[in-house]
């Protein structure tokens, strides 16, 4: 295989352009197998209140550590910049990474990120030494604000978290890609099928972050492999450059020497 898809994000180099979530799987074993089958080298994790008396027992975290891949903690569930900043600080200590998938939810119905709180939290966290992966809407001006603060990765949504609706607004996504050719752009949320991921990659996005599309599939492990191939194929397609669409048909087989040739009227 060509290594054309090797890429670098936030100072680390990876082969896979798929970032995968660790939630919603039918069992820990299926999660483990799906992550392996996906070929992903980056997995998202979260923090929640721990019950007293567990003495640090955490089978989930032990399993993730055994996978020996890069973890990207999130601030899921935060509704204010302050909550997100505190959660990010806690994540940095627990997971030992300055990477943070910054989520600040602004609406409970569609879990749309709050652009104002996102900018506020990003501003603080970058000054605190974090590498911020902002989960954002596909708003061009917001992208500029985040880039101005020092983000080198942006993660616009394809559609609402867990909706599986694919890319709602390819025009906006394409515009962000055009305006920020040097930033790492990841589609985060809303991917439902491998064909959605291919579309994202063919738009020139650098990667895809997804969870539900694999975890909620009838066969998560097989779907994980499907996404692995889709994202690879989508990137190759982007690198190769697709042909232009035409209104008229054009025969691919040579017409010279065609037997029984006749002219349509």
């Amino acid at each position: 295989m060509t290594n054309i898809t090797t890429w670098e994000i936030e100072g680390k180099r990876f082969n896979s352009r798929l970032m995968i979530g660790s939630a919603l799987y039918p069992s820990p074993k299926i999660m483990e197998d799906a992550i392996k089958a996906s070929g992903s080298q980056i997995v998202t994790v979260a923090l929640r209140r721990q019950s007293a008396g567990e003495n640090g027992d955490n089978p989930f975290w032990e399993l993730i550590k055994e996978l020996d891949i890069t973890v990207l903690p999130n601030t899921a569930g935060c509704h204010t910049a302050k909550e997100a900043i505190t959660t990010a600080m806690m994540a940095r200590e627990v997971f030992g990474t300055n990477w943070i998938k910054l989520e600040v939810i602004g609406n409970q119905y569609n879990l749309q990120p709050d652009p104002f709180a996102l900018v506020e939290a990003t501003n603080v966290l970058i000054k605190e030494g974090f590498r911020v992966f902002p989960y954002m809407t596909d708003d061009l001006v917001l992208a500029h604000k985040l880039a101005d603060l020092g983000c080198t990765t942006l993660m616009p949504w394809g559609s609402p978290i867990g909706s599986g609706r694919g890319l709602m607004n390819p025009y906006n996504l394409k515009t962000i890609r055009k305006q920020f050719p040097d930033l790492q752009l990841i589609i985060d949320a809303g991917i439902g099928k491998p064909s959605d991921a291919i579309e994202a990659m063919e738009l020139g996005f650098d990667g895809v972050l997804l969870n539900s599309a694999v975890a909620l599939a009838q066969e998560p492990v097989i779907m994980a492999e499907a996404f692995k191939h889709a994202i690879y194929a989508g990137r190759l397609s982007y690198e190769a450059g697709a042909m232009q669409k035409r209104d008229m048909a054009s025969p691919s087989t040579p017409t010279v020497g065609t037997p029984f040739w006749h002219q349509f009227k």
């Binding site: 979530g21 003495n55 027992d57 955490n58 993730i64 600080m89």
Partner: protein, 66 residues
């Protein structure tokens, strides 16, 4: 002394002075992070961070996430 720990009200008869003492008494292990009144507390300061009546502690550990 009454303290909120992960949203639950706890009453401590014995005097708990620091975060370190509370974590030990409640058998919280390693791999956690602590916020006191919604402010992050560095692990290295658990021994010197006092807890007062009415304080709210959040003790978090890794879980599945998307």
């Amino acid at each position: 002394m009454i303290i909120s720990v992960n949203g639950e009200t706890k009453t401590f008869k014995t005097e708990i002075l620091t975060i370190q003492q509370l974590l030990e008494q409640m058998s919280f292990g390693e791999g956690i992070a602590v916020a006191l009144n919604e402010e992050f507390v560095l692990r290295t300061t658990y021994n010197e961070t006092n807890i007062n009546d009415g304080d709210r502690l959040d003790i978090l550990s890794p879980v599945q996430g998307g």
